[in-house]
Amino acid sequence: MIDATAIGDFVRTRLLRPGSPVPGEDDPLFSNGRIDSFGVLELIAFLEEQYGIVIDTAKHHIMDFDTLRKVARVVAQERGEVEGG
């Protein structure tokens, strides 16, 4: 499975407001306004580079990136580790 720690570090240091705590695996990121839609794009760019995958935004809903657990699931799907939902 994908380790969400690296993703969490990226989100905290690059996307969240300074001083924000490390988000929990199920803490909403997008739906509660902690990151905006461009933040999701930055996150996607990070995931593509970090994990060598291509994420098609037409196939995924933005809410698929709402929590670290969901993000890790998208990465695992794109790497063929789990079936798409």
Binding site: R17, P18, G19, F38, A45, T57, A58, K59, H61, I62
Partner: protein, 406 residues
């Protein structure tokens, strides 16, 4: 007639056993309501909307993913051009003139059509094409597609639903309990109150009450009053319409998405666009902003700031949103103003990261900080509506008067 339609559909659910027949009854009744109650020009529906819907449906079906078959490059973009061209020819004078000239040269007499609701229909069509072609939505039957596209409560001005969400409610309509019916009726009454009382109260003070020459001579106070009055007129009128649509749709067992969430209380322009005309802004996000941003991000070289990509994405998205709203340079200017506002908001967000945590706490957690952000955002938005309500020369007069110039 409206109540008769609701009753007919409720009865058809109970009496007509065949789901296929029920869907056809639903689809045909939506078109009938639009033609008979809303009093839409029948020529537009019969000669443009329905043929366009058929074409979009067939194109989506052809684009739907098939195992072992690769779609030709550019096929989706080509398909999207069809509804976009239809909108352009109807909505924009320059495109209409081109069509008139071309059809005239071919010996046809081109009669311009007024098709109310076409802008929304085209955006829904693009959503449908993209989602079916990506496999996110499985190509449905034509009658099911027609129910979605022609659903009359949301046909004219939204809220713009998505096929998958609409279909879930359509297949399992929310039960119309006494409480649900009361809530739906309350939304309708609230919508009517906003539209026919609150918006009407604002109207005498908004721009439209001043003729162009008089506008130049109005006092600074009256100019500001026009700006505030128009802001609330627009909000009450549009959110009132959305309340009407949401309440009416609920009577059919469909819970269409909310369209407004206190937009004038938001603390920055990015937040504003998560609360104003939400179904349009989420459409813009999913079908313009994200694809544009993703494409630009791919082309970006090096590990530098992403701000240029963000700005270009916001500008492109909102320039298109401006053009979609109407035929006139003022709409484009309105879109560009919002694109610049969103870029500035993003730049401020990046720049302010280097400020101490105390500054962020003040801005985000204290009343003065929150109030300051809200006031700045509110005034940016209402000043942008000046471009929405007036053509460019008239908007220039308003802006000068606001500053006491001219």
């Amino acid at each position: 007639m409206f109540l008769a339609t609701v009753a007919l559909l409720a009865a058809s659910r109970r009496l007509v056993g065949n789901p296929r027949a029920r869907e056809w009854i639903f689809a045909v009744s939506q078109v009938a309501v639009l033609l008979l109650i809303v009093d839409i020009d029948a020529r537009g529906i019969l000669f443009l909307v329905l043929p366009l819907l058929c074409i979009v449906y067939l194109l989506a079906k052809a684009l739907a993913p098939t195992p072992g078959k690769t779609r030709p490059r550019g096929a989706l973009a080509g398909a999207i051009l069809v509804p976009v061209a239809a909108l352009a020819f109807v909505k924009y004078a320059f495109a209409g003139a081109i069509l008139a000239r071309v059809s005239g040269a071919a010996g046809w007499k081109f009669a311009p059509l007024t098709v109310v609701g076409l802008s929304y229909l085209v955006f829904k069509g693009i959503h449908y094409l993209v989602d079916v072609s990506s496999g996110r939505v499985t190509a449905p039957t034509f009658r099911s597609y027609l129910c979605f596209m022609m659903f009359f409560p949301t046909y004219l001005s939204g809220p713009m639903d998505r096929y998958g969400r609409f279909r879930r409610d359509f297949e399992n309509p929310l039960p119309l309990t006494r409480d649900a019916a009361l809530e739906a009726c309350w939304r309708i009454v609230l919508g009517l109150f906003k539209k026919t009382v609150l918006a009407v109260l604002c109207a005498p003070f908004a721009y439209a009450s001043y003729t162009t020459p008089a506008l130049g001579g109005i006092s600074v106070a009256k100019a500001w009053m026009a700006v505030y009055a128009y802001a609330f007129l627009l909000y009450f009128d549009f959110s009132g319409y959305s309340d009407l649509a949401i309440g009416t749709a609920r009577l059919f067992g469909i819970a269409v998405p909310e369209n407004f969430r206190n937009p004038y209380l938001k603390r920055n322009i990015i937040e504003f666009w998560t609360a104003w005309h939400i179904t349009l802004s989420t459409w813009l996000r999913d079908y313009l902003f994200l694809p544009i941003g993703k494409a630009l991000m791919k082309r970006k070289r090096g590990a530098g700031s992403n701000l240029p990509v963000a700005s270009a994405s916001y500008l492109a998205t909102f320039a298109i949103a401006g053009i979609w709203h109407g035929d006139g340079w003022n709409f484009l200017a309105w879109g560009v103003m919002h694109g610049l506002g969103l870029s500035a908001c993003k730049a401020y967000g990046e720049w302010s990261r280097r400020l101490p945590a105390g500054y962020h706490r003040f801005m985000m957690e204290t009343f003065p900080g929150k109030a300051l952000s809200t006031i700045v955002t509110f005034h940016f938005v209402i000043l942008s509506w000046t471009l929405f309500a007036n053509d460019l020369p008239r908007a220039a007069v308003v802006y000068r008067r606001l500053l006491g110039i001219g």
